[in-house]
Symmetry: C2
Amino acid sequence: MHRFSRYCRESGKTIGFVPTMGALHEGHISLVNESTKANDITVVSIFINPAQFSEDEDFERYPRDYGGDIRKLRGLPRLPVDALFMPSVSDIYPDGYKTYVEVRGLSERLCGGFRPGHFTGVATVVLKLFNAVMPVRAYFGLKDYQQCVVIKKMVRDLNLDMEIVTCPTLRDHDGLAKSSRNIYLSAEQRPEAALIYRAMAEAREAVKDGTLKIEDIAPRLQETLLKSEAVTEIQYASAYDPRTLKETTEGKRFLIAVAVKIGTTRLIDNLMVEL
Amino acid sequence: MHRFSRYCRESGKTIGFVPTMGALHEGHISLVNESTKANDITVVSIFINPAQFSEDEDFERYPRDYGGDIRKLRGLPRLPVDALFMPSVSDIYPDGYKTYVEVRGLSERLCGGFRPGHFTGVATVVLKLFNAVMPVRAYFGLKDYQQCVVIKKMVRDLNLDMEIVTCPTLRDHDGLAKSSRNIYLSAEQRPEAALIYRAMAEAREAVKDGTLKIEDIAPRLQETLLKSEAVTEIQYASAYDPRTLKETTEGKRFLIAVAVKIGTTRLIDNLMVEL
């Protein structure tokens, strides 16, 4: 990977990078399209990062479809992906691996509270992939909003000479955010999962038209989400400061963010609100 | 710094980098000379890194002689230093800085046991400086042996596309390792400080000629060092595995390493032994 990237950069070519965990969906493809528009070379990586899963999480059963992913990337119009980087776990974490990156403060909030060590795993692998691929720009989907904030902060703090580009969440017709984990949902659960988006959108509209105060977003979301028996757990559901990720009851611009379990499947989503 | 380094690299020039905390001595200059021999461009940085000092350490009184340092670098034959990078503390750690790099395991041994957080501070600032300067090679003195091991490990673990070059310790006539902190020593303490090197060299010779077992190095060093009343504390003094930094009593190749206080001045030194 170093050799390929060094050659590109020495030839004056810009590298755009789309890091993924595979099981590619339209959200990933939209990132690839953004990259090919802005860069000479586009590199996609597929690496399911064990360091960002806790013991009790779904690392083992996380969807893997390497053949399908490769066909999807090959099938794109004008073959815009120049390289697919698929390191093995022992390439990324060889025996005796010891180095970890922490973005303190931001990593403990929201998902971090329910997934201890998750963002240390994310920051570490993303930094390693950046160092391997040496991109000028890297692309991330806003569905994982906290991940975007943590990675942007890491890039700025560590003086990396590159830009993080964040791209809008893609949704199904009923509003459910595209996610590799949606395939965990049963035929009965799938329509129920759209409630996450509907609850957030409804709260956003109510705040915008003045019938809901920001401090009442959290109870309203609770109320709406608990209407469905498919929702087995609400991990968080409230309004947050989009920079600090702290819960907020004020501001002209804030994030509504939700993490719930539908059956045993954990899903997250968010909407930015500008008043 | 990014703009300078990007320009150099895009012009196909190799950058060698010598990161320092200033108060430059012949040890630093030897690193500069190694860099200019192997690279088209040599960058020196001076940054006294608060993150690697504990509350009770000498950050405030650490020797600062920016004018003298600049004169020394300008006075070198054929002006081999192309750029001097002197960021301020707020350049490196702006308000809200949050990102830290940990090299777990290696950082807790030897000096790490007496300077908690020290190597997290070192790894973090060195990674930031590497990202700012984008060198092909960076140069470190072996006097700070553990620092060399931690940084090499970080570079390998994080997939940085660069090489760490370690250079021999320079010594005064009586064997005292060159160090910016030597100027803390009083006229009475200065000759006593040579005992550190003498104790290590004597132990090494005794092991080599078979009159001392490796497991007896630690007591022999203790005995020798405590002969001087100038030695107020021995933090560690023994034989260590040069890769894991664990104390060892066997092997064909090991490190004798010492950290002592002479009065209130903490000095470290080491010798590699090959049997």
